[in-house]
């Protein structure tokens, strides 16, 4: 046994007896523990002093039961940790007091981690060995860390109002720290300042379900309420991707529209020029010569090009199949007025009759005009078969806009709700939190 290095025996946990009430105080953090709270009388004890001094006595009628009991072990990123300390912290904001809970986790090799919980929102927190860079972005304080920009969320004074378990630092009920939070969901950086020392910590938002699984807790985690500072938005990245999808669909739609116009035969099947004089005794209606509509069932465009000027005309049209007698009746009004201020209407008009089967057709035309004008109208009638139409594509294009606009509005709403809880809440939304119990 003369080996130069004798492996020290296994380090054993110790326990103390509270000098106040005699209760046993279990120490789970070995010699790291500086202060421990008696589970019975809640006195804060100096765990390093063999005489075990009472550092602070505190009485409290209401006892807080941590949601994760002290001594519970769980795994974070596959490393086991034990819950050894608990503190409830509060912050005074206007007339309200907000409380959140912090759990101190310990592993004798990997050190300390923290869990924080506020209204069902959990974060896994660790102290940083690197120093985030404070900058100003768009007039607001922010920090940069590992290529991410974190926006300042709030600055607050946190006061410890209840402690249980043990801590590797001096702790008392009533301790106050200055804390500044910067968010880039799901992460948050917090700068805690106490007596001239600045500590940065890094928090990752972790769903309660994951915490419950990691610590194998019975039941289900408490439901969340409200939106937390670094809670990832369910719409995170969605507006971008939905707009990208929209862009591709719109490009596809335009392409289809172009293909449709290219494959449309757009064939002129009839054209003629007529003169109409209102008030003439003869029946104004007439029929055109027969023309052939070929190809698949498609549309027919009837275009009238008049020389109307400060006048109107009305056309009754009927497109009639010579063989079957099937007819398509419709009327069009053409009016064109202009003066020094501008013009109204157009001397041209075009109407589309859709789903016209192929066959031999003629058009019955019956123009009408104000009979008192005695002004005749010359007009050219053009009939085209299978013209490209864009109405469907315009409607489809508008419908395609609905999902991205919807998602963008919802995403903006989520962010607005997040920032309502920050120092940057707009003054008009003071009741924004809403869900206090």
């Amino acid at each position: 046994m003369a080996s130069s290095i004798v492996t020290p025996p296994v380090v054993k946990p110790k326990s103390l007896n509270c000098p106040g009430c005699g209760a046993a105080v279990e120490i789970r953090g070995f010699a790291h523990t500086l202060n421990a709270v008696c589970p019975n009388c809640l006195s804060v004890l100096d765990a390093t002093n063999p005489q075990i001094e009472i550092l602070q006595r505190f009485q409290r009628k209401e006892r807080i039961q941590p949601k994760i009991p002290l001594g519970t072990r769980g795994k974070l990123a596959n490393i086991p940790y034990e819950v050894i300390g608990f503190q409830r912290r509060e912050v005074q904001s206007d007339s309200d007091v907000y409380c959140w809970d912090e759990y101190l986790l310990f592993n004798p090799y990997y050190g300390f981690r923290y869990l924080t919980e506020y209204q069902g929102h959990w974060n896994v927190v660790r102290v940083l060995g690197a120093l985030p860079v404070e900058t100003v972005s768009i007039g607001k304080p922010s920090v940069e860390f590992q290529g991410r920009r974190y926006r300042h969320f709030d600055s607050l004074q946190a006061r410890t109002n209840y402690i249980l378990g043990e801590f590797p630092w001096q702790i008392r009920v009533g301790d106050v720290v200055d804390d500044r939070d910067f968010v880039s969901p799901p992460y948050m950086l917090s700068a805690e300042t106490t007596s001239g020392e600045l500590t940065w910590s890094f928090a990752e938002y972790t769903p309660g379900k994951q915490i419950w699984a990691a610590f194998q807790l019975p039941g289900s985690p408490p439901a969340t309420s409200g939106i937390f500072a670094n809670q990832p938005s369910p719409y995170e990245g969605r507006p971008g991707s939905v707009w990208r999808t929209w862009l591709w669909l719109t490009v596809a739609l335009v392409a289809i529209a172009l293909i449709f116009s290219m494959i449309s035969s757009n064939k002129e099947v009839f054209q003629n020029t007529y003169l109409f004089t209102p008030g003439s005794k003869t029946d104004a209606s007439f029929v055109t010569p027969t023309f052939e509509l070929t190809g698949r069932t498609s549309n027919v465009e009837i275009e009238v090009h008049t020389d109307l000027n400060n006048n109107w005309a009305y056309f009754n049209f009927a497109l009639i199949n010579e063989d079957t007698g099937q007819d398509f009746d419709f009327g069009r009004e053409v009016s064109y007025y202009r003066d020094s201020d501008g013009s109204e209407g157009s001397p041209k008009d075009s109407a589309i009759v859709s789903r016209v089967p192929s066959g031999k057709y003629y058009l019955r035309v019956e123009p009408e005009m104000e009979s008192r004008t005695f002004q005749s109208m010359s007009y050219e009638l053009t009939i085209r078969r299978d013209v490209p139409t864009h109405l469907f594509f315009w409607i489809a294009g508008l419908l395609l806009l609905i999902p991205p606009i919807f998602v963008s509005v919802r995403a903006a709403g989520f962010e607005a709700a997040r920032w309502r809880e920050s120092d940057y809440a707009s003054s008009t939304s003071s009741g924004g939190g809403g869900d206090d119990d």
Binding site: S4, H32, L34, P108, Y109, Y110, A130, P132
Partner: protein
């Protein structure tokens, strides 16, 4: 790394050196502090009991950092108002030495470096101060007054004074770490990095009941 053996001038126990440049060591048996002279070992003091300590590291712990193996050969325990921390003295397999600081299981590796011509004086250095060295731009994150609480094993210098010393810890955005040690004039500079437990691939660590 093969060590010149000697005997403790106090109790006669064999004293092994793992590092040929060690200036001081402690006798494992009688806890005498022994300083190497040209030919011999001289007892200069005695170590008081070290405070209870829960560092997972011990003399003899081995590790590897960036493909360089090291072994822990000594340590200094510092005491400050919030408790203790350990500076573990490491010797690497190329016979260079360095330090591993373990403060509440937050680990920093460092090496003594050549300080730049102008070092901030202890009266100048303050929290948030900027400091440039070896093209790195550090910011002071904490100033700590501490004193030696105890020593163990081999150290690169002779020391067992107990007066308060000022240490400035500095960090960069990318995890670089530096300490300015104002125990000497001009102050000493140590530079290195914040490291994770798993970065060091430890062997021969202490065992903790319930955590095997």
């Amino acid at each position: 790394m093969s060590a010149p053996a000697a005997n403790c001038p106090n109790c006669g126990a064999p004293v092994h050196f793992r590092w040929s440049s060690a200036v001081q060591t402690t006798c494992e048996f009688c806890h005498s502090i022994l300083v190497r002279t040209d030919v011999n070992l001289e007892k200069v003091g005695e170590v008081s009991d070290l405070p209870p300590d829960a560092s997972p590291i011990q003399i003899g712990t081995e590790g590897v950092y960036q493909n360089k193996a090291f072994v822990v050969i000594g340590r200094i325990v510092y005491e400050y108002e919030q408790g203790y921390w350990n500076e573990w003295h490491l010797v690497y397999n190329d016979s260079t030495n360095g330090w591993l600081s373990d403060a509440q299981l937050e680990y920093d590796l460092s090496w003594q470096t050549q300080p730049p011509a102008h070092m901030p004086a202890s009266s100048e250095i303050q929290w948030g101060a900027q400091f440039q060295s070896n093209s790195k731009s550090y910011t002071a994150t904490s100033l700590t007054k501490a004193h030696y609480r105890g020593v163990q094993g081999e150290l690169p210098f002779q020391y067992w004074d107990k007066s308060d010393l000022l240490f400035a810890d500095l960090r960069t955005p990318t995890g670089d770490f530096a300490t300015i040690d104002y125990s000497e004039d001009p102050p000493l500079l140590f530079e290195g990095r914040a490291v994770e437990f798993d970065d060091l691939h430890f062997k021969n660590l202490r065992l903790f009941e319930g955590w095997s």
